[in-house]
Symmetry: C2
């Protein structure tokens, strides 16, 4: 397998974007990545989207993207793994370059969620239709059950959850592309309306439109396109049981641990080598579970990480400096690629106020549903 | 890139299968392929499905499949390219084995179409939502326009279309897994009810449930699992403009030609080397366009191929001996993988009454929408 680098990144602003359609979003992000790399052609395209069919009545997104990028003919493939769709698009692009099949491969992610669909019902199709949805479960409900299980196992409180959101918004306020660029104090969060006990509104990621894209090529060609290429040194994908009730321990995300272990193994690294990370905080409890499963803190200690600054700028492993899904926003299919964009910016030293000094190794973890699929990538500045 | 072989195939019966759910179908096909190869584990899974979210409210199909195959943890990825989803699942699996990333990779395709959804509306999401669906176009309407364009360019008549259906049903009647196992005469077809002029009911593929799966491994390991491995010698993917009105010539499927050219190039072969083929005959006119675009007949001569026996058993290039999408049925996401199953059976010499004597090289072509994506694979007995 060949070594692979990211040579260009692009991203729309995240938010309720009423003046842009699905195709506008994905084209803006894709052209951004191409422009960043100084090229106007690619050999192949991947696009991750969870539910463009249900959200805006458009499946068959891959030829649509090739067409509207002015690249009719170019091979294009859509991948879906619920909210991990973007991370999987990146993984497939990585594999296509690594295999030697193609040189320049664009990986994009997009979701247009604000367009009239019943968002909660659409998102629920990422959980188990027969064993969960049929009985009325929604995603806030599923993550609330994970939070309750974590509380029982480790004493995680509503205040612990709230510190994750305080950190998310403190950082997201400094991210010019974030959906919500404002800080919230602990009191604000703990007095926001209850969605599914113990999760309150400000523990939940918003309904966001947006797209992101990264352009990949063989490492040996990277300097043709970029003065600051970023190497992909690890890629790990894992599945877990789709329904929460089928998991050995609902307070622990097995698929996240396994995908991380696979990426660490490919990279020949461990969690101690990671200078900056983006993890999938669709709900505050998710960040707590993910930092445990990825080994940034011990199992059961995730609840203290945000409050104690371990996962904030200056801590041992800064996590979600972009604001994460909570503050930056969570256009579900775009999220995994947007995480990669954030990490590339960090490794290029271009993250402004949010920069981790001397960051050399970064990690992005993106998951689907209540954790039934998870994909981890590890990146390194060259 | 490593050489890749198919070592196992599995397929459900095709039809209106009211006693099996989406997960039952995909598990039966997957277990069939594993059993055929004599293994109970894989390194990675791909599953193609066009619209499981819209048809049965279930996205996130990849972890569902891993879970219900008893393989929680195994990496799994869903791909979608409308009715070409199955072919793309096969292509991604091929790439993963070729890259050296994994050894045993399962590629499945599934669709559960008969479950209460508005099928015509769901299928329409494979066309251009903003430029076609919004104005009321459905798939029979789109292919009727292709048929009219072909009539204008080449004089293709309703009788020409009908001979394609005669051939499909004559062969499909002998396929034990086909949706419709009965023959129809020319008169039957030409007097069936009009759907969208000039396409009648018996020019259109049915609404079918089903699943298919193939298991891949590096060629060098194939004999561990199969006495009759089949090598994948070419894989080509191409896109075309999503909306029919944006194509240079609506009577010609550019993406099919381009995907074929790419597969032929990888295989170092041409259409004259193909002993048996399955092409995407979602409507009778589609088979006519595909045999032209793949070079089995000259451009404009596709209309004569079925009537003259060129594409029937004993002809120069037998096409759709399985009965094709018309008679075998068209569970959209399963079709591309089911085509591969048919070709493998032919190259193993196990196609019974439908066997092409001495078949050594086979081709499968699977497309999405009105031809905006097309994927071609070329197979060879080892």
């Amino acid at each position: 397998m060949r070594e692979v680098a990211i040579i260009g990144v692009g991203m729309t602003r995240f938010g309720e974007i009423w003046d842009m359609s699905l195709r506008d979003l994905v084209v803006e992000a894709g052209l951004g990545a191409l422009t960043d790399a100084g090229t106007d052609t690619v050999d192949s395209i991947y696009v991750g989207s969870m539910s463009s069919g249900q959200f805006v009545g458009q499946e068959h997104l891959a030829p649509l993207m090739a067409d509207h990028l002015g690249m009719v003919g170019v091979p294009a493939t859509r991948v879906e793994s619920a909210c991990a769709s973007g991370g999987l698009a990146l993984r497939q692009a990585f594999m296509e370059v690594a295999s030697g099949m193609s040189d320049l491969v664009l990986a994009a992610g997009v979701e247009k969620m604000n367009d009239g669909a019943d968002v909660t019902a659409v998102l629920a199709t990422a959980s188990d239709q027969e064993e969960e949805v049929y009985y009325g479960v929604t995603f806030p409900g599923l993550y609330a059950m994970i939070a309750r299980a974590h509380e029982q196992a480790h004493g995680t409180t509503e205040e612990d959850l709230s510190w994750v959101s305080v950190k998310a918004h403190r950082n997201g306020a400094k991210n010019p592309k974030a959906h919500f660029r404002r800080e919230f104090g602990l009191e604000d969060i703990m007095s926001s309306s209850m969605v599914a006990e113990p999760l309150r509104l400000l523990h939940c990621s918003p309904v966001t439109d947006g797209a992101a894209a990264v352009l990949l090529c063989p490492l040996e060609r990277a300097r043709e396109f970029s003065g600051q290429p970023v190497k992909i040194v690890g890629s790990g994908l894992a599945t877990g049981a789709l329904s929460l009730a089928s998991r050995p321990d609902p307070a622990f995300l097995d698929a996240v641990e396994l995908s991380g272990a696979r990426a660490y193994e490919m990279a020949g690294m461990g969690p101690e080598d990671v200078d900056v990370a983006e993890v999938h905080d669709c709900f505050a409890i998710a960040e707590i579970c993910c930092v445990e499963a990825l080994g940034f803190v011990e199992r059961g200690k995730g609840k203290d990480a945000a409050r104690d600054g371990i996962t904030d700028l200056g801590g041992s492993t800064p996590v979600n400096l972009s604001g994460g899904l909570k503050s930056k926003g969570h256009p579900v299919g775009a999220t995994g690629v947007a995480q990669a964009v954030t990490i590339v910016e960090q490794l290029r030293g271009g993250a402004g106020e949010l920069q981790v000094e001397g960051a050399r190794t970064g990690l992005a973890q993106n998951m689907g549903g209540s954790g039934a699929s998870s994909v981890v990538h590890i990146f390194q500045g060259v």
